[in-house]
Amino acid sequence: MSAPPAIAVSGLVKEYGGRRVIDGLDLQVRTGEVLAFLGRNGAGKTTTTEILEGYRTRDAGEVTVLGEDPARAGARWRARLGIVLQESQPVPTLTVREILRLYAAYFPNPRPVDEVIHLVGLDEKAGERAARLSGGQLRRLDVGVALIGAPDLLFLDEPTTGFDADARRQFWDVIQGLRSTGTTIFLTTHYMDEAQALADRVAILREGRVAALGTPSELQASLGGVEIRFELPAGVARADLPALSVAPRVDGPHVTVSTEHATADLAVLCAWADGRGIDLPSLEVGRPTLEDVFLAIAGDAAPGGTR
């Protein structure tokens, strides 16, 4: 027995001023899974998300969200969605509880307001005006607003942008809690660690199409090879490194060698370090990270906007 997909998209096309932002996108999101939707700025993440949410129209393709076409679906369909937009601020003079109470009135079968306040960890801020919340607390209020209608499907568009590490961890806990209740979650994010921590499957968008789709470990395995990572020892420049089977990537002091010949390259590196009488700090050998997969698949950074 398999439930119908929560989201099914095929051949989706969207143009802005003659430019194809979405160019034949196909994607299925299973009921109950967390799907992370990754892509560079300008790859079409928000455009796709807003088409699925019913905010934008499409130029071609089939889209089904919770069994209905978002372009035509009505209030009963919207009652099953929870939406966290990329940018939105609440009415600043209302308190957390007042805002949630108002949104609860919009839905036919809302969750109890206090339950949602607790779920997003704002118990101590329930009587605080929105204007006095921190960025992380505002975002959690945003999620609370999206959860108040007890949605079957939750859209999160870059929910943790601008969070500090603590706030991000707390937010992840909230999302993991929701996932365990069976809510389907469509998560757009810039952060690979977030996708790694939360997602059952990851879709990587490139030039308006899904270029890769799979579980994080499937994607990591698909890239093949092994990564040798270490830090440049003090006083050693990039040019001093020995010749390896591939050119290493250097990012500040961090050196990454993505290689198909790990043992040979390691031997060269170790002999080189030994000959110079130096050590390779933080040396590790492992699979490619999700970030490596992303960099390999998502392509070069596109200039401009967040559409």
Binding site: G54, S88, V91, T93, Y106
Partner: protein, 252 residues
């Protein structure tokens, strides 16, 4: 219905907590009335039906200022702020129908306008001995209702053309301030050149003042024409607003 009640309750709370809206809508008309009466005192001026005290004209004049401030200026600023902050976009992603947001604002500002009128009635009666003809109270109610709804429609229409949060208050005030001057709010219309008075009588504020003045000047002609002009502006506002109103921020 409970959805609308929740909306009005939240909108009213938000209004109550916005110091500038509160000051301009409730404080300023009262301050102006007190200032004008203490400066010009017991002057008699020509009204619609013979000589009356200045306060007889200015109490309804500042009532209009309060209602216009709530229904037109505040409403326009609120609509633009909510649109640009993404509040409306968020609500459009819930099952709530659009009319809840619109009627919620109209009802909220109507309640505030009515409260303002009551405040002015009491100050006028007890501070300046300006009395309403009790038989014409229905006219006062009708005038406030038609005026508040018409100016709400105009406020929505204006909101559609205001590009940003920062420009909402200056634009709305720039429109109403000169109109107060030529509509008998600050200066009796008898002081205006007749072409200017005629011009003002075709704009929405002067006829609104006439409607609210009538219960204070029972000898005057029934202001059917004024009612018609205000209602016509309201319909125009409604048409423009429903054609150009947008829910999403300009940047979208």
């Amino acid at each position: 219905m409970s959805m609308l009640a929740a909306q009005v309750r939240a909108d009213f709370t938000a209004f109550r907590r916005a110091p500038s809206a509160l000051f301009f809508t409730v404080g300023l008309p009262v301050i102006f009335l007190v200032l004008f009466e203490s400066i010009f005192g017991e002057q008699m001026v020509p009204g619609a039906a013979g000589q009356v005290s200045l306060a007889t004209l200015q109490v309804p004049g500042f009532m209009v200022m309060g209602v216009v401030s709530a229904s037109f200026v505040s409403l326009c600023i609120t609509m633009v702020n909510r649109r640009e902050a993404g509040v409306f976009k968020r609500v459009r992603g819930t099952p709530a129908p659009a009319w809840v947001l619109i009627i919620g604002q109209v009802v909220t500002t109507l309640v505030i306008g009515v409260l303002m009128v009551v405040v002015m009635l009491i100050i006028g009666r007890y501070a300046y001995d300006v009395r309403v003809d009790m038989a014409l109270v229905p006219w006062l109610v009708l005038g406030v209702l038609v005026g508040a709804i018409a100016f709400s429609c105009l406020g929505m229409a204006l909101a559609a053309f205001v590009p940003s949060m920062e420009s909402a208050a200056p634009i709305a005030n720039l429109i109403v301030l000169p109109l107060y001057f030529i509509s008998g709010v600050f200066v009796p219309v008898s002081e205006l050149p007749s072409w200017l008075a005629t011009f003002a009588s075709w704009l929405p504020i002067r006829p609104f003042v006439e409607m609210l003045s009538y219960p204070y000047e029972p000898g005057a002609a029934v202001p059917w024409a004024a009612l018609g002009v205000v209602a016509a502006w309201g319909v125009l506002g409604l048409v423009v607003a429903s054609r150009f109103f947008r829910w999403t921020p300009r940047r979208d």
